[in-house]
Symmetry: C2
Subunit: 153 residues, 2 copies
DNA sequence: GGCTTATCGCAAATCATTCGCAATTGCGTT
DNA sequence: AACGCAATTGCGAATGATTTGCGATAAGCC
């Protein structure tokens, strides 16, 4: 609740700097995103925001997501279900593990894997611009470790 | 040229076993796929096959790709451009490095990364069912290493 | 050769996402 | 507080990849 308003204000500044406007719908979508602890898709964001403002349109959600992405405020991911899912980008880099049964998304990061990726790319004569790493797994019985758990819709 | 016919024959057996038929169009698509050393999408496969049989339809290509995928004869990949690309599945497992400038796809495999993935998943209480690893990179000047290079359309 | 039904070609249907455009609304300026 | 204009919105239509319904065609078994 506290960090959210600050983030919205910061974003408004960035917009202004680019000659853009902080509209009611952008403010609303931003709030929905900030309150989300999962990886919602456009329709999911629209549904949540629509509850607060029934005049909002899905097009505006898509347009805003694109804007937020180019501004670097959010990250877009396309998992195997084909739709684009979003999450705010104020955190450290991480990859995703998707529970094939529930669709739940668990975040993780591994400097070792990143290092190996860079090494492999270098061996092939490339430098990495970005990467996509998704693990699709099934919960093992008996184990109960936790870490940055976030569920998808 | 030799292995192709054999592979087609093997596939025909599998089809028959499932009560399905080896049609002209399936034979043709299979041949196109076997001759491809890249990762073509449905339209690309259609174009190549259409050159040999102008009565072929794109629907048939899509239907055949789905069939081949469920039969495990091919693998489908959806890189960042959004379209599904296919490659025959008779090779060892590998991941992909995509040249962000040319779209060229380089294949590689890393037992170390696979091991790390399994370890990470286990720590989170999961066992991996499958994964998706794509590196997007840019060719480094001066370096000239090669390895399993395959270009996209 | 004939029969059954899997498969095909075609056009229409989906689905997520984008776009065109007229109506609206931020917001810097009076 | 009102003005003016470009940025933005909502809506519906357009897109592009992929799927599907259906009548016509052709595998494969007798």
């Amino acid at each position: 609740m506290k960090g959210i308003d600050k983030r919205v204000a910061l974003f408004e500044e960035e917009l202004r700097r680019a000659g853009l406007r902080m509209t009611q719908q952008r403010r609303l979508i931003l709030r929905v995103l900030a309150e989300a602890d999962d990886h919602p898709d456009a329709k999911g964001i629209f549904t949540r925001a629509f509850a607060h403002d029934p005049t909002l349109s899905l097009s505006t959600v898509y347009r805003t997501m694109k804007l937020l992405e180019t501004q670097g405020a959010i990250e877009r991911h396309a998992f195997e279900d084909g739709v684009s899912r979003y999450e705010h980008a104020d955190q450290h880099h991480h990859d995703h593990l998707i529970d094939v049964e529930t669709g739940q998304v668990v975040e993780f990061s591994s400097p070792e894997i990143e290092a190996l990726q860079a090494k492999i790319a270098a061996e092939l004569g490339y430098e990495i611009v970005r990467h996509r790493l998704e693990l699709y797994g099934r919960k093992m019985p008996g184990t109960s470790k936790r870490k940055d758990v976030a569920k998808a819709d």
